[in-house]
């Protein structure tokens, strides 16, 4: 596949894209977020109250069945993409074509 092309472009099947956000639970300290907050203060952004750093993942699924995609992404988050001991997650789905 050429760079930049979407998976569905060549063959013409539907693709559902999941945008997944994984963040630390509020009770978990985030040393990286704290370091970024300090840097923002040093840059003069005095209003910055807090910074929490997380992860953003894009997962493309070969399906246009949104409820199936919902179920699968939910399972992926629970089993691998987030660690329920320290992290929470949310995601949205977009089906193309």
């Amino acid at each position: 596949m050429a760079n930049g092309a979407q998976i569905g472009d060549e063959i013409g099947f539907a693709v559902t894209k999941a945008r997944i956000y994984v963040t630390y639970k509020p009770t978990v300290l985030d040393p990286q977020g704290n370091a970024i907050q300090t840097a923002l203060h040093h840059l003069g952004f005095a209003d910055v109250e807090s910074v929490r750093m997380g992860k953003y993942l894009e997962v493309e699924l070969h399906t246009d069945d949104t409820s199936r995609a919902q179920e699968e992404v939910e399972a992926m988050c629970q089993q691998l993409l987030a660690n329920p001991v320290i992290e929470s997650y949310r995601f949205d789905l977009e089906t193309a074509q």
Binding site: V28, L29, P31, Q32, L80
Partner: protein, 235 residues
């Protein structure tokens, strides 16, 4: 008696562990490649340190799904002794075989040096060589050693004697300055409820011979062998 040392892509303390078991303890040991699907014939397992799968996503999160981990889980659940060191600790928490999780060090620095540890509980068979309150000196080398667990989980762990080792100063005082990574309650090592799964961030394989500057780690290895000698378990 035979020990198995599990080797993941990115493990880098596997041969150090193998050396200690074979040359120092004089016990038979093999490396077990992570694609193995069974661990029959081994009396105890070691998950060594390193950077399995480049620490991608979260340290230990990908290794936890290596084929061998199903067998490791069955082995642990049947009561087999499992020792996790550094990355092995991270893998065992990700696998749910130990409570809690390990985050980036609070100072955001890779910490490499010697630390002191206080033996908080001798409930686990891995602690049989040490006395309660004994101060040990061991090296650490990690970027993600910041132990966390929910307050109710921690309180259950304390009640059960699962908080095994805590970072302290040379006199055994548990202080914030003795904490190399920001771990809650200075926790350096924990075991599961039944004590057969134990892991720590420091490296007992790097302090099991006088040539390496200390022998305080040897007790963990000896205790493992002692436990197998007195109550061997084959899963």
């Amino acid at each position: 008696m035979k020990l198995g040392i599990v080797q993941f892509p990115g493990s880098n303390c596997d041969h150090d562990c193998l050396h200690v078991v074979r040359s120092v303890l004089q016990v038979e040991a093999d490396l077990i490649w992570h694609e193995a699907t069974q661990v029959a014939g081994y009396d105890a397992l070691v998950l060594p340190g390193g950077f399995s799968y480049g620490d991608y996503l979260r340290s230990g999160s990908i290794a936890r799904f290596s084929p061998v981990m199903r067998a490791v889980t069955d082995f642990a659940e049947a009561g087999g002794l499992v020792l996790g060191i550094c990355n092995g600790f991270q893998i065992l928490t990700e696998a749910g075989l130990l409570p809690g999780a390990l985050l980036r060090n609070s100072a955001l620095e890779f910490r490499c040096g010697w630390v002191h540890l206080r033996v908080e509980s001798t409930a686990s068979p891995f602690m049989a060589s040490y006395g309660h309150g004994q101060v040990l000196r061991m090296p650490v080398a990690h970027g993600d050693g910041n132990y966390v667990a929910d307050p109710d989980v921690l309180s259950r762990m304390r009640d059960n004697g699962q908080v095994t080792l805590r970072y302290c100063d040379a006199e055994g005082n548990v202080t914030p300055t003795a904490n190399p990574n920001g771990s809650v309650d200075n926790i350096a090592g924990v075991c599961n409820e039944s004590g057969n799964v134990f892991a720590l961030m420091p490296h007992p394989e790097r302090c099991a011979e006088p040539e390496l500057g200390g022998v305080d780690g040897l007790g963990i290895w000896q205790a493992m062998v002692l436990a197998l000698t007195s109550a061997p378990l084959r899963v």
